[in-house]
């Protein structure tokens, strides 16, 4: 599927190139002032879908709604924050487009181009996760009717100073359901999750969802409107027409054409008169006047750029970089020019670990899987390779407050237990190379496949340790596409990977554990295993988990609208997954580390609990001229108090 899509994009790009060659400059001119106007088309679309788009009056808003403005939460950031300065950062690749949707729009630096600044109607408070207002002034949740009412802040403006209105949200539905944008995922999402949008007046509307899950409100509150006036020319040529046009949003930074240095640099400028600049929650954020993003592809060069002060901040993940390349004794650190900070954060975790394919020969035996669990010396990897910084992952779904079953303990390295389980599975004697053999002469050997080249050392350590338990691990490192295909076609024994956690309130189990994603017709009517079942490929159940009772729980979990019951089910599902033993939980990073130059200032406590990157909320600030002063002091050998700190106020909290 992936390749077909790539092919499509390649053909489109080719077509675009050909038309561009044919049309010459003429076409570029018309693009800017085309006179196209799709207003009528949009109105016709609304009229053709009366179920989806409803036009009502303010009188139709139920009177008994409980409105919330989210203004009771603590402020974000520091009152000491000053506006000004330029923040220098690097991106690995130049953005292939400025579009936020459509082909090629999911590029690595997308967050820096628009993701970090785009506002939604509300956001979860980064410390408490309670909803606080963004574009919305207030909102009301009508759970029985699966509806959320939103009143837009009357001050809210797009970055091009046009006011934001309900029409922009109506248009957002037109936009995301449109085939013009060539984004099937958005098309699907909007047609599956929402059933109606009702406009009451210029600033008030309601959105109706398909289900009333506990996090239903997020489906509406976390939406962003789409500027209708900007997309007047939306049509089948959307990818080319909007390729280099920056979509206005409600945030603080914008990109001007003159600030695009193709292939080299993108500069974002802060809107001095940003409409939210005095808002309680936003006034201390987005402080620097400019964000300068320079393309540096090579990691080593990025590092050198940081050490020269060309870049203000670097996130550092590996122990080697943290302890050896930038030790606390480094002259720049000891001299107080570069600060080193470790910040323990919260939230759903990446689940690095070994995913065993339980449909494979031998691995279909739970005793073999249990033996493998006990033969993996993750503690040694964490202690000796990650130098004790990482922690042991417990389950596949760590970090969901309440929903994660914290009673589950990952299995330790224990060769006695491992051998017991292997013996139960028939592997009782050791061959001449020390690897266990069963009565049929089969060796206990599996291939560990991955596309994570950077963790190759971890696998070699696991391999050497597993030999002690009589298990052979063959390491196979493929490139990304080949590895992914191998997993999707279920050709793997064991795969090392992590799935990015869903950032919702509760984990999703269906795609990873439900037998629908493991086999075609996994079970017969009575719940017994279907002897003719075939492995289903191209799904995320890469462990091939198929358990009849587990299926029932997952279905109930997915249908449930009762949070307490969902939590109970979630714990049961995780417990059963643990017993199934096809996922060997590896390591988890419960913190992020960053090194930054002294001229970057941070609020007290450094950052917020539910952030995954140091710069995410842009709570830091800089002072004009300070960088030059500090660099001059460094040249003259004048030192400062070093700042090496661990912020662990959120450590251990879920």
């Amino acid at each position: 599927m992936m390749t077909a899509q790539h092919l499509k994009y390649a053909l489109l790009a080719l077509a675009a190139l050909l038309t561009a060659c044919g049309g010459g400059s003429e076409q570029t001119d018309t693009a800017m002032d085309s006179g196209l106007d799709n207003t009528q088309e949009v109105q016709d679309y609304y009229a053709a879908h009366p179920d989806l788009f409803t036009f009502a009056t303010p009188a139709d808003i139920p009177a008994d709604l409980v409105w919330d403005d989210g203004m009771d939460q603590p402020e974000i950031g520091s009152p000491d924050a000053k506006k000004g300065g330029t923040y220098y950062h690097t991106i690995e690749d130049y953005p292939p487009t400025l579009r936020f949707t459509g082909p090629d729009s999911n590029f690595s630096s997308r967050s820096w181009i628009s993701g970090y600044y785009r506002m939604t109607y509300a956001i979860p408070h980064p410390n408490t996760q309670a909803y606080i207002p963004g574009i919305a002034e207030r909102w009301a949740i009508d759970a029985p009717n699966k509806r959320v009412f939103i009143k837009i802040n009357p001050n809210a403006r797009w970055t091009d100073d046009e006011p934001i209105t309900s029409d922009d949200q109506l248009f957002a539905f037109f936009f995301y359901l449109s085939e013009y944008i060539q984004a099937p995922f958005s098309n699907n999402h909007f047609s599956n999750e929402y059933t109606n949008i009702t406009r009451y007046d210029d600033l008030t509307f309601s959105i109706t969802m398909t289900t009333a899950k506990p996090d239903m409100a997020e489906y509406a509150l976390f939406l962003s409107p789409v500027p209708q006036h900007f997309y007047k020319e939306l049509g089948p040529d959307y990818p080319e027409r909007y390729q280099w046009r920056y979509e206005p949003h409600a945030g603080a930074y914008s990109i001007d054409d003159k600030n695009l240095d193709m292939g080299v640099r993108v500069v974002l400028e802060r809107k001095k008169d940003w409409w939210a600049k005095d808002n309680k929650y936003w006034r201390y954020l987005f402080n620097t006047d400019r964000i300068n993003l320079t393309v540096i592809r090579d990691a080593a060069k990025r590092w050198e750029a940081f050490r020269r002060g060309d870049i203000d901040m670097m996130r550092i993940s590996t122990a080697e970089m943290w302890y050896d390349n930038l030790p606390d004794s480094d002259p720049d650190v000891a001299g107080g020019y570069i600060d080193k900070v470790t910040f323990y954060n919260g939230g759903p975790r990446s689940n690095w670990g070994l995913w065993m394919n339980s449909s494979r020969h031998l691995l279909d035996n739970v005793d073999v899987r249990l033996g493998i669990q006990y033969a993996m010396n993750w503690d040694l990897v964490i202690r000796n390779y990650f130098r004790g910084d990482m922690e042991r992952l417990r389950t596949q779904n760590d970090g969901y407050p309440e929903f994660t079953n914290t009673d589950i303990e990952p299995r330790p390295f224990d060769i006695v237990k491992a051998q017991e389980y292997f013996a139960k599975a028939g592997f009782t004697r050791r061959g001449p190379d020390g690897i266990l053999v069963n009565d049929q002469g089969e060796r206990l050997a599996f291939t560990l496949t991955t596309h994570y080249d950077r963790f190759a050392d971890v696998f070699t350590i696991l391999k050497e340790e597993a030999i002690k338990a009589g298990l052979e691990i063959r390491i196979e490192i493929l490139d990304g596409a080949a590895g992914f295909r191998k997993v999707q076609e279920r050709q793997h024994d064991i795969y090392f990977v992590s799935f990015s956690p869903s950032l919702s309130m509760y984990p999703d189990y269906w795609q990873y554990f439900h037998s629908d994603n493991a086999y075609d017709d996994a079970f017969l009517e009575d719940g017994s295993v279907n002897p003719d079942r075939k492995v289903k490929t191209q799904t995320n159940n890469i462990q091939e988990v198929a358990d009849y009772e587990l299926d029932q729980w997952i279905e109930e979990y997915d249908d449930s609208e009762d949070k307490e019951r969902m939590i109970e089910l979630s714990h049961m599902i995780q417990q059963r997954a643990w017993e199934y033993a096809s996922f060997s939980p590896g390591f988890v990073e419960t913190y992020y580390r960053t090194a930054y130059w002294r001229w970057v200032h941070w609020p007290e406590g450094f950052n917020f609990r539910f952030t995954t990157e140091p710069f995410e909320m842009f709570a830091f600030w800089m002072e004009d001229g300070e960088k030059e002063r500090i660099l001059a002091a460094r040249r003259q050998g004048q030192t400062f108090e070093p700042h090496i700190e661990v912020y662990d106020q959120f450590r251990g909290l879920q």
Partner: protein, 357 residues
């Protein structure tokens, strides 16, 4: 090998090769190293050479593994002979262990501080070139990496020559349509990007294959895309020789095609072949190193020069001994082979003295 009889001419060439000291000694060093490395397990290994336990002698180097329980230890996995030696010494028993010169395998992590990180060369711990990023002995990894690279490149050379000479000779000797068609096929074939083929082939190899099988597959893929260049030389050489009078004479005398090719033409183009050999080896070593460097070569944790080089470039500042060892070995190895190559070329050159006017 009756087809390559040592006639006086060849003997003269060999004598001349011996006279070129630089190449000759390089050759001796290389052959010496190769022979030494074949018995490498007795020099660099974490298995003991001899263990004397309770009056019995054990020779674990090439035997099946001995679990710790064989020597009165309490674990069922492979004995750690370094610890065993220490254990025997501490308990003051009559048992003893004789370890190889460098008592480390290229796979085991041996960190003095308990943290897997590069450690500088340390004669006391017998890590003479230090350890790599996961605390494995660099000397052991270099030694076995070089051995694999050398054997790999010799195998590569043999295979490339076999195919290249056969096809090239046939093209030159048979000529005509066969020649034209083969040439076109070779042109097409040599345009297939080799690196992509390696990636593709490796992604479809079934799981069950051992590391040795994977190395063989890598070798086959490399040979499959490298034999073509050899055919060009062979084809022209054969063409040239074919039109010589002695070939015509042989034909008139009724010699068969096989006889003409093997008895008359091949010995006469031998000098071209032989002079290319060392350079083929150089390119094979470079290729396997480059592939390992890029991560498409031998599967980890197979010791390899490319993998060490890659580690070295990432730890240039913090652990310079890694890159120095790997780079130094590569330079020495390639220089030696190149010296041999130059000497061969010179000794096989019919013009001993060239006068410039």
């Amino acid at each position: 090998m009756s087809l390559i009889k040592l006639n006086p001419q060849t003997l003269k060439k060999l004598r001349r090769f011996r006279e070129i000291k630089r190449g000759y000694y390089s050759f001796l060093i290389l052959v010496g190293f190769l022979l030494l490395s074949l018995a490498g397990e007795m020099l660099i290994n974490n298995r003991a050479l001899v263990v004397s336990y309770e009056g019995d002698l054990y020779f674990p180097t090439y035997s099946a593994f001995h679990p710790g329980t064989d020597f009165g230890l309490d674990y069922p996995y492979e004995t750690n002979y370094r610890d065993l030696k220490q254990h025997f010494e501490e308990t003051g028993s009559d048992n003893w262990v004789l370890m190889p010169l460098i008592p480390y395998s290229p796979f085991e992590n041996d960190a003095s501080s308990g943290i897997f990180r590069p450690e500088a060369p340390n004669a006391e711990r017998q890590h003479y070139l230090g350890t790599d990023t996961t605390s494995r002995d660099i000397l052991a990894r270099l030694f076995y990496g070089t051995r694999i690279a050398l054997i790999f490149s010799i195998g590569f050379m043999a295979a490339v020559y076999l195919i290249g000479v056969a096809v090239g000779c046939a093209m030159g000797y048979l000529g005509g349509m066969f020649d034209i068609l083969s040439q076109r096929l070779i042109e097409i074939w040599s345009n297939i990007p080799f690196l992509y083929m390696v990636i593709i082939v490796f992604s479809v190899i079934p799981d069950g294959f051992t590391i040795f099988a994977r190395i063989l597959i890598l070798l086959s893929v490399m040979v499959l895309f490298s034999w073509t260049s050899m055919t060009y030389y062979m084809r022209t050489e054969t063409y040239k020789e074919k039109s010589r009078d002695y070939v015509a004479a042989a034909r008139v005398l009724g010699a068969s095609n096989t006889r003409i090719v093997f008895r008359h033409i091949l010995p006469n183009v031998l000098s071209t072949l032989v002079t290319f050999m060392p350079f083929t080896i150089v390119s094979a070593i470079s290729a396997i190193t480059a592939l390992d460097f890029l991560g498409f070569g031998l599967p980890p944790p197979t010791p390899s020069l490319g993998e060490l080089l890659k580690q070295g470039t990432q730890t240039l500042r913090t652990a310079p001994w890694i890159v120095m060892s790997a780079f130094g070995t590569l330079v020495v190895l390639l220089t030696l082979v190149t010296f041999v190559g130059e000497a061969i070329r010179e000794s096989f050159d019919p013009k001993k003295f060239t006068l410039y006017k």
